[in-house]
Amino acid sequence: MKPLRITAYSLSSAAGHGREQTLASLRNRRTGLSRNDFGPAPLPTWIGRVEGLEAEPLPARLTEWDCRNNRLAWRGLHADGFITAVLAARERYGADRIAVIVGTSTSSIGASEEAYRRLESDGSYPPDLRRRIIHTPHSLGDFVQHAIGSTGISMTVATACSSSAKVFAQAQRILEVGLADAVVVGGVDTLCGSVLFGFNSLELISPDPCRPFDRDRRGINIGEAAGFALLERDAEQGPWFLGCGESSDAHHMSTPHPEGLGARLALEQALARARLTPKEIDYINLHGTATRKNDEVEASVIREMFPATTFASSTKGWTGHTLGAAGIIEAAISLIALEEGFLPGTLHCDRPDECCGPQIRVESASRSARCALSLSFGFGGSNCVLALAASDARVNA
């Protein structure tokens, strides 16, 4: 399949609203994590919370979709002038030629949780939350489609933490067969009880700020984020989405394959499809969740597959693990790295685990970079690796 230009992209997370703020946080090693103050009985952990969403209802025409997740989606659409670029594409191609493929893990389940906390005396939902669309996973895709006024294909992908990486693969197929001229891909996940208490039940939540690849790492911090990218069929400018690799672990619902078999397959496929060799990869944004198991398996895969010169890092110390939004957020951070010539290190990794090879870097570096990989591995053994390149990279189209 043909490599595609990314003609616009945006992100909004605890590490900053938009590319400029995010880059400043990365440069200054300023984390977006804060003590958990979310919900009625906060667990003792740290979270990547996006401030101010409670006071930012959606505009009147979109009230039907109003909830925390779609508010964050709205914010992400407005970061970095993204929606302006999308509306221009809609003008250019027509509303029916714009597809929306977005990823999430829990979509707006936070609204369902709220309804259950505020049930009427007869056990029914409170009237303000009796809106079917916000209690179903496609809440996100349907909202984005209505927010941008497109009428083409619209789907919501929910493969846990690989969701908003896999949307790139789907978009590439849609453009390849010509069912759209442009695809809005992205992902949004917001803080909610389901993931905070759910990951807590699996004993994967860290009581401290998360420390990816540190020998004393104690688990994840949950973050919330929104990110989007616009892919167009015949664009002439913008960084490249070269291709991706997808695989399954066939191992376990909530732990990775011990030898990282699925991760290797996805990496090999991404490299093959991008027509790149490991030594041509200048930057890898790792999944790096800071769980004992993920980081150990991922580090060994990277150590065995890439030369010592490869620069790899996890940026979850800045954002937390944004789950279904992690794919797009980390793709966006990789694009920032390529565009700015600034490779972020790994925040809070004070003493790298002995499982880490020389590829995994703690300190950031300023250096020019042409090609990057972004790795996302999800519950249920779903793996996705994105290959990206700078706008001026020589691409084997």
């Binding site: 667990l43 509303a95 029916d96 893990s105 389940i109 369902s112 949780e113 309804a115 259950y116 906390r117 049930l119 809106r131 079917r132 669309i133 209690h135 179903t136 996973p137 496609h138 895709g141 349907d142 489609q145 009428t151 083409g152 294909i153 619209s154 789907m155 919501t156 929910a158 493969t159 846990a160 896999k166 789907q170 197929r173 390849e176 067969v177 069912l179 009880g193 389901s194 208490f197 759910g198 990951f199 807590n200 039940s201 699996l202 997808e246 695989s247 399954s248 672990d249 066939a250 191992h251 619902m253 909530s254 078999l261 699925g262 397959l265 519950f379 249920g380 053994g381 779903s382 996705c384």
Partner: protein, 251 residues
């Protein structure tokens, strides 16, 4: 209508549906202890996936898959929300990992030992059409047969009144661009832009069997199932969104 052979005959009016609700399918893919613990969504998805692979005579471990469900496992969402409202720290870790939308797909790849990629998606009232389209695009672009599975089950608790999804409905098929083998039916699909929501004009179900799944969120798929059951050439139109349709022709 347990299984395609029975469903086909019920749709054609050759036999009556069973009076009582069919028991939940029991997949032979998993060991008995695990079989009892999997949620209904996984049970129905694995059952139709297994049958579809058998019919297609394909090795299930080699097939990429597309799993589509409007609401995922609504009873688990009900469990999560009610437990969170009362005793959040008592959330069951098993229920939590079964609550993800890709639980059925994850169990499937584990059960058949498949390293091939899967996806899990939702598109509200167009979930079946969206999943079918994605499976077809994968089979064309990736040049491989693809397993497509769609399922929705009855919602429970306070969520049920909002989602309004009843009964249990699962559909599984293998889509391939290769020459037909066995029971294969040649299929052509294309998308159509509609001028308005009224202009989407999805085909209406025409058999009494449609009543059996009318309350299920996958009911919009039933005209396609009817067309498959008739074994005669024909076409149906499914809503692909508020202003888009998926046109499907079977020869």
């Amino acid at each position: 209508m347990p299984g395609w052979e029975v469903a086909k005959r019920v749709i054609r009016g050759e036999c009556e549906p069973q009076a009582t609700n069919a028991p939940r399918p029991s997949t032979a893919l998993l060991p008995p202890t695990e079989r009892r613990r999997i949620p209904d969504t996984v049970a129905i998805a694995l059952e139709v996936a297994t049958r579809a692979c058998e019919m297609s005579k394909r090795d299930p471990s080699q097939l990429p898959s597309v799993f589509a469900s409007t609401h995922g496992d609504a009873p688990i969402s009900d469990y999560m929300c009610s437990t969170l409202a009362t005793t959040p720290s008592l959330i069951s870790p098993t229920k939590f990992h079964n609550s993800v939308h890709n639980a059925a797909a994850g169990y499937w790849t584990i059960a058949v030992g498949s390293y091939a990629p899967y996806t899990a998606l939702s598109a509200f009232e167009s979930t079946f059409a969206a999943g079918l389209l994605e499976a077809a695009m994968q089979s064309v672009c990736e040049r491989t047969p693809v397993l497509f599975v769609a399922y929705d089950i009855e919602a429970t608790g306070p969520l049920a009144a909002v989602l309004n999804c009843t009964g249990l409905f699962g559909i599984g098929m293998v889509i391939s661009t290769e020459a037909a083998i066995g029971a294969a039916r040649p299929m052509q699909i294309h998308t159509r832009s509609a001028q308005s929501t009224e202009d989407v004009r999805p085909t209406r179900a025409r058999t009494r069997a449609a009543d059996l799944v009318a309350g299920n969120s996958l009911a919009p798929a039933f005209p396609f199932v009817e067309l498959l059951a008739t074994e005669a050439p024909g076409a149906v139109s499914l809503a692909l969104g508020p202003r888009a349709a998926l046109e499907i022709e079977l020869s």
